[in-house]
Symmetry: C2
Subunit: 237 residues, 2 copies
Amino acid sequence: MFPTYANVSERMAAPPALAISTVIFALRPSAVSGRPTLWLPLVKRIREPFEGMWALPGGPMTQAESLQDAAARNLRETTGLAPAYLEQLYAFGGLHRSPSERVVSIVYWALVQPTEAAMAQESANVKWVRADATGPLAFDHNEIVEYALWRLRNKMTYGSIAYHFLGEKFTLAAVREVYEAVLNRSVDPANFRRQLMTAPQIEATDEYLQGGKHRPPRLYRYTGVEAGGPPGFHQLS
Amino acid sequence: MFPTYANVSERMAAPPALAISTVIFALRPSAVSGRPTLWLPLVKRIREPFEGMWALPGGPMTQAESLQDAAARNLRETTGLAPAYLEQLYAFGGLHRSPSERVVSIVYWALVQPTEAAMAQESANVKWVRADATGPLAFDHNEIVEYALWRLRNKMTYGSIAYHFLGEKFTLAAVREVYEAVLNRSVDPANFRRQLMTAPQIEATDEYLQGGKHRPPRLYRYTGVEAGGPPGFHQLS
DNA sequence: TTAGTTAGAGTCAAATTGACTGAAACTAAT
DNA sequence: ATTAGTTTCAGTCAATTTGACTCTAACTAA
């Protein structure tokens, strides 16, 4: 029933290799409009298959850590990021994802805050691209990004992940910009404000964001905790 | 970056074993009230670890099939079921899920229709239990069932999976009973009807369910298709 | 001082929701 | 044949929520 392999002969000839990858989302100001848009970092493959192509950060599973830990560690090693939000996306196990060997990839998705996102510097092997225009990627990574985007939008309309894009204190306009960037449509500021204010998890601080060009907006704080989710899933940071 | 193992020495000493399990939900009339409640089938473990305990149906991954196919095949082999709905739930990869070896389990969840559910006969090695009272299970399967229940309830309030519990044609009262069983609270029949009628994916047939004790209800049909979801995810049946 | 822009409060009609009523259709018991 | 009981299904009504919009306060830059 369950694989308890009393002896080696019972095991299948060549078990699928296990890998971990991550789709990392961050908001960055658009080059054209200046408004924040969704971006993600890619790394360049340095060996076959798909050598020279861009791909999601990832690597093989190692023995001594949970899936979540493996994702977090690999992320730190490949991009230097320690995201505030890291959740399992999906296990991809199609037969021909990799041309050579059978690989099952457990893919996580992460949200990082703007201050952190700045830490993943561009280099010859790391570049940031707009989430809706990644260009052709290695393996089935285009499909994976597509699905991650769909999940992000889904969870945004429903839940409360928007705040993981932001720092501890934020303006209501910043939250609205997250919504607008992810859902890709404009939101009425007054109505959006009204909705947030009725949500009990938004707490007003007595601080205001100074240094802007216009009336200084009040800063707020998110006090809610993610409900439900898989066992062993804990918020980092 | 990605596991392409040019030579064996590069591979880690003992890669985690890969397994597939499934949480199968079906509605069955409660022994006490007669109203439908959520049940799921368990299989008895016939070897260590946890020999003699009840567990979710599952087995090791074999080489030549996708994860989805592996789940469907294993389900057919262990319980005889071919569910109308089969979706990936989560990949569980804690370090100590199995006492002997490191096992990563990719768990699917399924909804089966009452006619099909009757096919999975109880036997010495298969029993059906109420989803909210499974008793102690092998491995971390209690946590898995818990999480599957959470996901089912979540998706029910939002999406349109309720119909996968039912046959092609159904009464509105049957849909309501699905909601009541899964969400575990009563729903106002008139208001529920009104909501369903405004949904464009519900199509009225000109047939009525005869043989009941009271006014015969009209039969309806679900014409919607699941939107979004991971790539390579297709409805069976 | 004035023009321009954002923050934030408030208005109003339309749409949705929750609680409820009542007639119609059927069965089973009298 | 009549009646009681139960379910389907249409409809009412007040409360709440939503979308579109206005208006004033607060600030900066010209």
